[in-house]
């Protein structure tokens, strides 16, 4: 039985994990950088260990200090949260070699899903539809051109070992392909020590749908239905919801069963997400798998009642899932707004400084996940997400209305933030209809900014 968990993260997700641990009667160890001495996660955990300087690479990515802290505080397990070390298979293996439980999937799965070509092959074998593209690594420029011709431009050329926006090129035609191919191949070799490239058809306008998966170490895998995360700017999600409003029951069933198929094919044994792109004809294609808890997990918790973080800890602790598939029902609709310290009127420039006043929204069907407090000093070293506000309602429109009034109640003074931007969005007719795709946010931001310069 896990008795003590070191949480290798900060901010609201560290607070979220501490709350789950308290429910489970598990002791917590927070880690923090010299910039985070007064952070909320440090105050709420049972113990806290400083692991390095403000810069993440010296602290929240400092594997040696983190493992030492876990061992010396006698933690049994490490929860990596998201970001930082969450999808780092070497870290997971190292933790295990130290006798610690890594709260996440088997590192083999992190590796498999981290290599995008291998992931595609595995999914293809499992019978999950893939984004049209090259199946294995592109063998040569000429072969690549042929495949591109077949699937049709525009395409995305990607390094198999890439990630985080690196090693990616959008290619509009043959000329561009001939130019980009050798350059990216060299880049991939330099950055990732692996020059394998592959390509996928580019969907400029699609729904980004993801299915939440829970697995345990006894071969049980269930899904908690899907989330619609199509409201994105530069691949940064800003508003998420569950379920996807546009799917009918037949489509939902097919999608979730394919996600289950994908998870089972790789023997998935933890919490994870299968991401799909869905085109205008409701055809969906496997995009990638996230082998960690996600920022937007609360919307799924709101519609199902399941505590995903608790299930994640249970399964790492070799316990069976608390649920079977037919226990999972969609009870309503949920939205999440990520409240971020950035200014939409100035190209989402991040803002830092002291939060001189913070007032959280409250009442029925509102959940706030945040590490903010009045007088908190927002640091330039980390992510600028300050809070997640989650609303629930019996219908999507109820959830939207509830979110509007929650945003009206929220006060954050001292830094620029996107409260107003989120509020405006909740009145946009296309958003309210739920018929927005991944290109919507950009167009909407442009529209809002153009309006700023006119009176009407």
């Amino acid at each position: 039985m896990i008795q003590k968990i070191l949480i290798a993260n900060r901010g609201e997700i560290a607070v979220r994990i501490i709350r789950a641990c308290k429910d489970l009667g598990i002791q917590t160890v927070a880690i923090y950088s010299t910039a985070d001495q007064s952070a909320l996660h440090v105050q709420l955990a049972d113990e806290a260990v400083c692991v390095g300087e403000a810069n993440s690479k010296d602290s929240y990515l400092n594997v040696n200090n983190i493992l030492s802290a876990a061992l010396l505080t006698h933690a049994d397990a490490i929860h990596p949260g998201f970001g930082f070390l969450a999808e780092n298979a070497s870290f997971a293996r190292l933790a295990q070699a130290c006798g610690l439980i890594f709260i996440g999937p088997n590192p083999e799965i992190i590796d498999l899903m981290g290599n995008k070509i291998n992931a595609r092959i595995a999914m293809h074998k499992a019978g999950v539809p893939l984004i049209p593209g090259s199946f294995e690594a592109i063998p040569s420029l000429e072969e690549g051109l042929k495949t591109a011709q077949e699937i049709g431009y525009p395409i995305i050329l990607k390094a198999a070992a890439g990630g985080g926006g690196r090693g990616i090129r959008i290619i509009l035609d043959e000329v561009a392909f001939r130019q980009a191919y050798p350059v990216l191949k060299q880049e991939a070799k330099n950055y990732f020590n692996d020059d394998a490239l592959y390509m996928e058809k580019l969907f400029t306008s699609a729904k980004h749908i993801e299915v939440q998966i829970l697995g345990d170490q006894f071969g049980n895998v269930i899904h908690l239905y899907e989330r619609d995360c199509s409201f994105q700017r530069r691949h940064q999600k800003m508003i998420e919801e569950a379920p996807c409003h546009l799917l009918n029951e037949t489509q939902r069933k097919a999608l979730c069963e394919d996600a289950l198929k994908a998870a089972k094919a790789v023997g998935y044994d933890s919490v994870g997400t299968i991401e799909f792109l869905m085109d205008e004809n409701f055809n969906y294609y496997f995009m990638e798998m996230n082998t960690r808890i996600q920022v937007e997990h609360p919307v799924t918790e709101m519609i199902t009642g399941v505590d995903i973080v608790k299930e994640q800890i249970r399964s790492a602790d070799k316990q069976k899932l608390s649920y079977q598939q037919n226990d999972i029902k969609i009870l309503g609709h949920a939205l999440e707004c990520r409240i971020i310290a950035e200014d939409y009127r100035h190209d989402f420039k991040p803002s830092i400084g002291k939060i001189s006043f913070y007032h959280a929204p409250g009442g029925k069907d509102i959940r706030v996940d945040s590490a903010l407090y009045t007088n908190y000093e927002l640091s330039p070293f980390y992510d600028s997400m300050m809070a997640k506000i989650i609303s629930f309602g019996p219908s999507r429109l109820h959830a939207i209305k509830r979110m509007r009034s929650a945003l009206e109640e929220t006060i954050i003074e001292g830094v620029e933030n996107n409260l107003e931007f989120c509020y405006f969005t909740l009145f946009n007719p296309q958003f309210v209809a739920g018929r927005y795709t991944t290109d919507f946010a950009n167009a909407w931001i442009k529209e809002l900014n153009e309006r700023e310069s006119t009176l009407s």
Binding site: T34, V49, N64, N65, I66, L67, S68, T73, K354, N375
Partner: protein
């Protein structure tokens, strides 16, 4: 003014929501500010001022833990501690060990001087930046 009075004023300021306060009387001038850096205000010469005590500039400082690990004051359980309070040390001299991931890391004095205080406890964990040993000019 006496420090008792200052203490009282500071306590009042602390309890209040006032963010800045300036107070001037015949004998003193005081400026208080919260959460931002203080701007130096020239002290008005008071007639027949008492001689200020000469403040000793103490260059003593703490050697801090550069990593998380277990602190050991000696090379092995049977050995004498590397340093003890009152002992002179030379810059570069090993003053303790920090064991992390089964590796012993030698921590060295970064200045010459005298060991004034040892805060870390033999065999216990130290976190990053934790004060270990203070070295100064005098004990």
């Amino acid at each position: 003014m006496d420090t008792k009075q200052l203490e009282t004023i500071l306590a009042l300021f602390e309890k209040s929501t006032v963010s800045e306060m300036e107070l001037e009387s015949e004998t003193f001038k005081l400026k208080l500010k919260r959460n931002t850096e203080i701007h130096e205000v020239p002290v008005k010469p008071t007639i027949a001022q008492a001689p200020q005590p000469t403040t000793v500039v103490d260059t003593a400082h703490w050697v801090k833990a550069p990593l998380v690990g277990t602190y050991y004051h000696s090379a092995n359980p049977d050995a004498k501690p590397y340093v003890e309070v009152g002992q002179s040390v030379k810059e570069g001299q090993v003053i303790c060990l920090i064991e992390a991931m089964k590796v012993m890391n030698e921590i060295k004095a970064d200045r010459s001087g005298v060991v004034q205080e040892i805060k870390a406890i033999n065999g216990k964990m130290v976190e990053y930046n934790q004060a270990l040993v203070r070295i100064g000019d005098a004990p």
